[in-house]
Symmetry: C2
Subunit: 458 residues, 2 copies
């Protein structure tokens, strides 16, 4: 037995980090499929095909929450808890989780293992990784439970049965924090369209999930260090500044665009505060979560296009979100701006960006565009009865692990669903990992011409 | 008078080449508007608004050929000749033309003027530019006239009146060679759907127009030098190799994709040779010209998406085509491929590409995608009754200066038409010029780390 373990360990040592991470994600998909094969997971008399179970497993483990049937009509209460468990796989990160179990079993964390987490979380410093994993786990689980209790009490207004209220509260809390966007209300957040308290709590949880773990860790360090040493001047990393600024700017731009595009259409005759919450909630949720307080099929085409692009961009790196990631977008735009001005170096927040990171962000964006374009063409061929905008939204939604849909998911062909599964998987592990799998660790011949500071992309 | 001329010359000397080129193109648009304001240009009783005249002027001068009314019903024979004249502005290049007039008037061509042509034609060597301009002019005019005569004789089969036959022949020949894709048949190339001779002649002319002037010049040099010196080994430039290979590969891929996507749809029950010519002709014409032998609105969505992408890519640099250009695509794909393999240097045809050219190609592609995406969203907002695929095709068609349309151009709002005009203009002058206008000649701080050989993009 011990011999077998060491053989496995030796085998693992020979693999590249990106290969192992992808392997772990695949393993997590397998485990999810097994869990979703348990008959207790479903309500009595519900019969699902094996393919549907696989699709749901991928959708849940990647935190996408794209569904092919109403969850509250299909799954048992036991099933709800299985979903919430599987959501942790994708949300907290399989790497972090496996490291946690490693620690739990008394193993010392080695350099190889540290490097694995490093890639998964895109961190460059090796120190403090064990603490990072523990902090991530504690923080997320605390937020999920605490949010669940708050929402549970509040949901007593909606559900007279306290069990139902707290189940709804916990499920909403978990799905908001992990940015899964699934619901057991049967109609997403439409019942809470006028409940700004629920929406605000949810937006806060969504942002915590989508802003990225490193940002949360740094904020925590900032708050605690300030108290201990009065003299100590804490500096946020360039990554945190870039990703938070981009996240915030996109949140505002999304709100404004949805407001302007639907002002004379969907929002006609709606009071201003409700219009604002509609637009703001939709902007926040479209980035990675996929909740809705209204029927998005009633939106006009330009709004749906803007939402698709927001989904394509996705959340921050090392977050519950998918897509190309916020920093990738930021580096792309900074590069174009500087290139147009005739400059090759890109500076931001008084720091110079590393040339390699810019190249990586450009490669990620272009590959993602090609991948999504090919997917749209393929699905519009295989499922020719569907509207182009619905297919485009669906593809961006899968790649961004958002899960929003104009309702076509259940009608799609097996071929189209397979494409969506691949997109969800790649969206979740990120194109950085895909590049590393294809090329191995190509960083070795990186030329450190600008040894300033690095920024995470993809 | 002489004083005035020298003042103009002094003023010109102070401007950057990209500014002057854009200025010349704007001037050409003005002249076109003036020419299209002549009442003799139109058939009797035809009344057009000023805005329509401006739109047509931009469409013709940029060699796009996007029309808002049937040309044969609107323009007089004099009008046809005005159209053919204006097409030369965009086709041969306003810069080349102005240099030609400069030479014609007995002026010596100075370094400044040489530099202007250099930018317009993306050439890096200063020598031989005067000859280049002359060769371009002679070659194009010869091909236009020669093709017109051949087609004129052939068209005697269609039009009993020899004047009509030769007018049709000349107009087709000019519109094929300049890649304008306009027609006075009233229904594009549909009358010649079974006439493979006309289609082959047209494809040859289209390729000559879209393959790029430098390629033609090099081929000419290759053919002539071989005869003079038996020992001399002519080497085609890296640019010629990359652009020709990309052009050819895209032509084949386009044919195969159109064939496969419409095999069970549009081409059902069509004989194989006609299917082949449909697909091949459409693939060739979609890249920059815009002729059709069939009604493209009958195509399925995936085919229209593939065609839109082909139009977005466009023709070769320094050609009659628009879009991001073939080499830009090639450099993007080579970059992604090499990046995925962990390499930063990009090698092709036993040469190493310059880092700056790769950066430029990435910047051009991303900016073009952003520009077209914003255009699609804006038009889908202003003209919400139009289908998304029709708008997408229209935007790519304008940016690629192709002129294909699902027939929505006349119905579009003034706002949408203004967007299309901007896209046609930018597509024609190329994003390289746009970058140069914004940033001036940013090349000055280029780091020649890889002093190998440069490739033209955008
Ligand atoms: K989601
Ligand atoms: K054209």
């Amino acid at each position: 037995m011990g011999c077998k373990v060491s053989k496995v360990r030796m085998w693992l040592e020979k693999r590249s980090p990106a290969q192992i991470i992808t392997g772990y994600y695949l393993l997590a998909v397998m485990i999810s499929i097994l869990l979703f094969s348990l008959p207790q997971v479903y309500k009595p008399k519900v019969e699902l095909s094996f393919f549907d179970k696989v699709f749901m497993a991928v959708s849940v483990v990647t935190d996408t929450g794209m569904t092919i049937f109403n969850i509250s009509e299909t799954y048992s209460v036991f099933g709800y808890f299985i979903i919430m468990l599987v959501l942790q796989f994708g949300g907290i990160g399989i790497m972090a989780m496996s490291t946690f179990f490693w620690l739990l079993l008394g193993h010392k964390i080695g350099l190889k293992q540290r490097r694995l987490i490093m890639i998964d979380n895109n961190q460059f410093a090796l120190s403090g990784l064990v603490r990072l994993v523990r902090d991530i786990l504690k923080m997320i689980i605390f937020i999920e439970l605490f949010g669940g209790i708050i929402l549970g009490f509040h949901f007593l207004n909606y559900y007279p049965d306290w069990k139902e209220a707290f189940l709804q509260g916990l499920f909403s809390s978990v799905c908001a924090t992990t940015n899964a966007g699934m619901d057991i209300t049967g109609e997403s957040y439409v019942p809470f369209a006028n409940d700004y308290f629920v929406q605000l709590i949810t937006i806060i949880q969504i942002i915590i999930g989508a802003i990225g773990f490193p940002v949360l860790i740094e904020v925590k360090e900032y708050l605690s260090r300030k108290k201990i040493k009065g003299e100590y001047r804490f500096r946020f990393s360039l990554f945190t500044k870039v990703t938070t600024a981009t996240y915030g700017i996109l949140l505002v731009i999304g709100t404004i665009l949805i407001f302007l595009l639907e002002f004379q259409h969907y929002f006609k005759d709606v009071p201003w505060h409700k219009t604002f919450f509609y637009a703001f909630f939709q902007s926040a949720t479209t980035r990675s979560t996929g909740f809705t307080t209204m029927d998005i099929t009633d939106f006009s085409t330009p709004t749906l296009l803007v939402m698709s692009i927001l989904m394509f961009i996705g959340g921050s790196p090392n977050s519950m979100g998918g897509g190309i990631r916020t920093t990738t977008l930021a580096l792309n735009l900074l590069f174009i701006y500087n290139f147009a001005k005739g400059k090759r170096e890109v500076k931001v927040f008084n720091r110079e960006l590393h040339q390699y990171d810019i190249m990586k962000s450009l490669a990620i964006t272009l590959l993602a565009i090609v991948m999504c374009a090919v997917s749209v063409i393929a699905i519009s061929f295989s499922d020719s009865q569907q509207q182009l905008i619905a297919i485009f939204l669906e593809v961006c939604s899968a790649f961004g692990t958002v899960g929003l849909s104009m309702g076509i998911t259940p009608e799609l062909s097996v071929f189209a669903k397979c494409i969506l599964m691949v997109l969800m998987f790649i969206g979740r592990i990120g194109l950085t990992s895909v590049f590393l799998i294809i090329g191995g660790e190509g960083n070795k011949d990186v030329n450190y011409r600008y040894p300033k500071e690095r920024v995470i992309t993809g």
